[in-house]
Symmetry: C2
Subunit: 267 residues, 2 copies
DNA sequence: TCCGGTGCAAGAGCAGTGCTCTCGTTGTTG
DNA sequence: CAACAACGAGAGCACTGCTCTTGCACCGGA
């Protein structure tokens, strides 16, 4: 560890440290702590993340670490926010790819899946069981919504093109669907929003089962299985490929998102 | 792996107990340990489950507990197996209810959801992120399959009645679907099995998001939302209500599983 | 230039954890 | 009855999150 980095020897002539060397060191050390914590997270999982081990690896003493994160939970919160932002950014990037709405839908799903498979422990941190006695603080709600909003964005664009009306709502669900539409995606039809929320959670069902090992000895060709399932998820939510022909819609629809390979590679 | 428990035969008249007091005490204490562990699990979650606390609560010393469970992971494994069996039994009971296949499908889904909401920490134990460095041993795979098999059972019965052909498979998925059908549900058409596996994982996506708090400020009327989503899950897998009319299938289908209330109560 | 406030690292310490080992005791078996 | 295996108790090790105190280094104001 670089302890005396940038000692800021009273260099008032040019003033390289506009905010003072102290703040600079602080942000650097904070980042180093998060990096090392992320490394341990990836190596052993959230439950085995140890403040003392992080400090030890960084050459500090454990108590010094409390100057930067008041508790282990606060460190975990920081990692959670970062993870949400990371997967959210991946989803948003995939949503910006070209192609018809259904292809973009598949790209977003595949990007989230690829991120989850690359960062299983971070995925478990945010989409697995909530950590020990941990209650997600308010800071996490906005980053947590980015994937969902990316899906909503694709659906919104699909609405401009030839969209298929999503299936109708039972009477009992209509008020709730209208409330969801107003809160989450103003302007979108309630049926579509209800379908989107369901598809959103079901997408993470697919991904969680794969990441958490429930598909062990059940699904082998997981790329193909996921591509097909994600494609159907989009279709059933009312997102259609722009092939306006409207001839064979659901019959033998081949996933546009590439057959058998994760689409994330293209994003 | 039982020890030689069959030996206690000489006690014809003097026997303090039929099977020997020791074995009796052993099974009783084992059960007591699991009970207390389950209580702590429900109170604070898996990560906070402490062998010492369990022993303390039972009036033993922590080292004595190792006579019954060689490690904390072994205790967790026992709890995991019990949890799988518990939710599996709930699903199987729901699958045995009367009604048309789609109603039974909805009953199974609702029963699993109800179990999850009643035992959130046990649910997290089996469907959340895998615990610390824990790798599920072989003992868990059979109990873990009971919910899936209950769904398969409903689908199999639906096949006798008027079933709707599930959507076709892309060419890339056909071999995998045939393998899954052969392994998991011999005799069922591959398209149906592939749909069932997807629906199975997506069902747990719905439940996990609700249990783990992802629906916070997103879905409010969760009973209605879940009933509708589960109903659609079944329909899209090709399970139809026995109302053979085949007139309005997906249009304004009102969930048969009761609108707005968890169906588990009827099972 | 000195001086006091402040951020910071280090260390000791507390209460808790999983787990191992030893040592008597006690039920079971030959 | 005697040998044996299972058992409970206790001490102990290495580890954890977290707190508190102490002393050093910086940094702005006089």
């Amino acid at each position: 560890m670089n302890s005396e980095h940038r000692t800021a020897r009273s260099a008032d002539s040019t003033g390289p440290a506009v905010r003072g060397a102290r703040e600079r060191a602080r942000s650097e050390i904070t980042a180093a702590i998060k990096d090392e914590a992320r490394r341990q997270l990836a190596a052993a999982g959230a439950a085995k993340l140890s403040l003392r081990a992080v400090a030890r690896e960084l050459g500090m003493v454990s108590s010094a670490l409390y100057r930067y994160f008041p508790s282990r939970d606060e460190l975990l919160t920081a990692l959670i926010v970062d993870a949400y932002d990371s997967v959210g950014a991946a989803a948003e990037t995939a949503a910006r790819t070209g192609g018809d709405p259904l292809a973009r839908w598949g790209a977003v799903c595949a990007a989230v899946r690829a991120w989850a498979l690359e960062h299983p422990h971070e995925y478990a941190l945010i989409y697995g069981s909530p950590v020990p006695g941990y209650a997600a603080p308010q800071v996490t709600v906005e980053p947590a919504s980015r994937v969902g909003l990316a899906l909503v964005g694709v659906a919104r664009d699909a609405l401009d093109g030839p969209g298929a009306a999503p299936p109708g709502l039972p009477d009992g669900l209509r008020p709730e669907a209208e409330r969801m539409a107003a809160d989450l995606a103003p302007g979108l039809p309630p049926e579509l929003v209800a379908s989107l929320v369901a598809a959103w959670s079901q997408l993470f069902g697919l991904i969680s089962f794969e990441v958490f090992g429930q598909f062990h000895r059940v699904v082998e060709d997981r790329d193909a299985f996921f591509a097909h399932a994600a494609d159907r998820l989009g279709r059933e939510a009312g997102i259609l490929p722009s092939a306006v022909g409207s001839g064979s819609v659901a019959g033998s629809g081949r996933p546009v998102t590439g057959s058998g390979r994760p689409v994330a590679g293209s994003g």
